[in-house]
């Protein structure tokens, strides 16, 4: 049983299968674990922000890179979960079970919307190039709706939606009387990211994951092996929406606020950029790109630099022109050639 699990985690559906890789992986995890001992709570909180975006990026890699379905509006599920958490936990303020109920409600609301949306998309066999447009429309509709919710009449229970000013005062996550803030929230994010990454590595290396990758390669061919590709695409879409929700939940617990801009056009483009720049057919590549690009954006924005998005956009253009399969993936291949080690860098 344990050898089966290890073979699923270490399978070749993602970059990094060698012993050296895993030693390096463990070292990096230890360094991340030690970081708060050397950094201020403020800096640890900033790194927690980079980490909390990773599930969203991983969801994009799973859906786009491994399943071949591009969603340009996955931040809708980020936002739905965030707002749902804010409403539920906010209305249960003072009750220690409130944040847990908020998490469950956020995940459920997001999965429900994603499930209904994906059902109509995949079971109607909507053409692949229309899906990014539909997903973008959904998130822009959500942004438009949330943007006009300013005013006292737009409240759910005691929680105001807040229009473009957003929802504020969202409770942090807590279990019992222990509230996750500062350093503890950093570790909370780290554990969740690790669980998401390892679980997804197992998924993409499983039989299910291989069929999903076959769908990315050739949907019709896969269907003519007897697979109901609609059901698998639906499931992957919902799974990736849940991953986006995890990021949304962590985001509102981190900043204690959320605004409609989190589901706007700019936010919608970011996970697509992370996946493109890193290399969408590798989970690890997307993890690295998410951390680095969020660090760049966050650092430049914090310094008052107006060009953060110009630089991120330029990274996308450069990647598309010179590293079409992603910078991290092509770097891994280059290292593989340099060390004469054959490097498999995609879902197969």
């Amino acid at each position: 049983m344990s050898s089966k699990i290890l073979s699923l985690i270490g399978g070749d559906a993602d970059v990094g299968t060698s012993r050296i890789f895993w030693v390096g992986f463990v070292i990096v995890v230890i360094l991340f674990a030690l970081y708060p001992t050397q950094a201020s709570e403020f800096r640890a909180s900033n790194v927690a922000y980079y980490l909390l975006n990773i599930p969203l990026g991983l969801g994009m890699a799973l859906l786009w890179g491994y399943c071949g379905v591009l969603s340009f509006g996955h931040v809708a599920y980020f936002g739905i979960a965030g707002y749902a958490y804010g409403i539920i936990a906010g209305n249960m303020a003072g009750n220690s079970f409130g944040p847990i109920a908020g998490v469950l409600g956020g995940l459920l609301a997001s999965a429900l919307v994603a499930g209904i949306f994906a059902y109509f998309v995949f079971y109607a066999r909507v053409r692949e190039w229309i899906i990014p447009i539909l997903t973008l429309v959904l998130t822009l509709l959500l942004e438009t709706f949330l943007g006009q919710t300013a005013g006292y009449q737009w409240r759910v229970g005691s929680v105001l939606l807040g229009g473009y000013n957003g929802m504020t005062g969202i409770p942090s996550f807590q279990i019992g009387s222990f509230v996750f803030m500062g350093y503890s929230f950093y570790y909370f994010c780290m554990v969740i990211v690790l669980v998401c990454y390892v679980s997804l590595r197992m998924l993409v290396n499983s039989n299910f994951g291989q069929v999903v990758f076959a769908i990315q390669q050739d949907p019709l061919r896969t269907e003519t092996f007897g697979y109901d590709i609609r059901a698998r695409q639906w499931l992957v879409f919902v799974l990736s929406a849940i991953l986006a929700s995890v990021s949304g939940l962590l985001y509102v617990q981190w900043g204690n606020y959320i605004t409609p801009s989190q589901v706007g056009l700019l936010s919608a483009a970011l996970p697509v950029i992370w996946a493109s720049v890193g290399g969408r057919t590798s989970l690890l590549a997307v993890v690295i790109a998410t951390i680095v690009l969020n660090w760049v954006t966050f650092t430049l924005s914090a310094q008052g630099n107006q060009y953060a998005m110009v630089i991120i956009g330029s990274a996308l253009v450069i990647t598309m022109l010179f590293f079409p399969r992603g910078i991290v993936i092509m770097a891994a291949e280059w290292i593989g050639r340099f060390t004469n080690r054959p490097t498999k860098s995609t879902g197969g």
């Binding site: 291989q210 390669q217 050739d218 269907e223 003519t224 879902g347």
Partner: protein
């Protein structure tokens, strides 16, 4: 194998705009048969395969697989009734290894899997006949054309079907490769596999077929054994050319 016919099309029609792809097509393929379908380009051969597998929906008529009316059935459900299909263009998963390609149709692939002895035996015949190693980690995209075509056929057999539709298996192959393909298909047929092949290569057709169906302009023009078909003057006119 159940029923009188492994595959049957009754009065099946399909148009693409003004183009007749299939018109009142009636086709019956018996279990264990090796049938070749020939016809000039645009005769509707590949469309007929697409209609049988549900990739295209028939505008009228009915399609049966082992006596089950599958006319309204999704492609994947038809495949689950024991049908396999290869395409005119070779469609293996280019970024996956040979091993992974063979595992997609059958994740629990085992050459002598209990309960699937016939299917497993046929797969073994194909793999050995084509010289393919089911544990090969070579990327399918790196295989030469003929091996890729053989892999595509083997992938279909990995799903242990009892009936396969093979679209132009020898396209782009040398004479030796064609002969090897012919030999393997004949062996598979001898092991009970029902095979329907669309093919242009008359050398191949003459080598394998018991019965030949000629399609022309979406209609069944003629059916008979190879000698009858190749001797028919009208068939020569529409397809073979007088030189043959």
């Amino acid at each position: 194998m159940n029923g009188k016919f492994a595959l049957e099309a009754r009065n099946v029609s399909k148009h693409f705009g003004g183009v007749i792809a299939a018109s009142e097509v009636n086709l019956q393929v018996s279990p264990g048969e090796l049938r070749c379908i020939i016809g000039p380009n645009g005769a509707g051969k590949s469309t007929l395969f697409a209609l049988l597998c549900g990739i295209q929906r028939a505008e009228s008529g009915d399609i049966f697989i082992h006596e089950h009316n599958v006319t309204q059935m999704q492609p994947f459900k038809r495949i689950r009734l024991g049908v396999g299909l290869t395409f005119q263009t070779t469609r293996a998963f280019q970024d996956l290894s040979v091993r992974r390609n063979l595992a997609i149709p059958n994740p629990n692939l085992a050459v002598y899997k209990e309960g699937h002895q016939r299917g497993a035996k046929r797969l073994q015949i194909a793999l050995e006949g084509f010289g393919l190693d089911p544990s090969d980690d070579t990327r399918a995209g790196e295989l030469p054309h003929h091996k890729l075509q053989w892999l595509a056929i083997s992938m279909v057999l990995a799903g242990y079907p009892d009936t396969v539709l093979i679209d132009e298996p020898t396209a782009g192959m040398s004479r030796d490769e064609t002969d090897r393909t012919t030999e393997v298909l004949k062996q598979l047929n001898a092991h009970g596999l029902t095979i329907v092949v669309v093919e242009h290569d008359m050398h191949f057709v003459k080598s394998v077929a018991e019965k030949v169906t000629v399609l022309h302009q979406g209609r069944i023009f003629m059916e008979g054994n190879v000698a009858e078909v190749t001797a028919n003057e009208d068939v020569k006119k529409i397809y073979l050319g007088h030189a043959h």
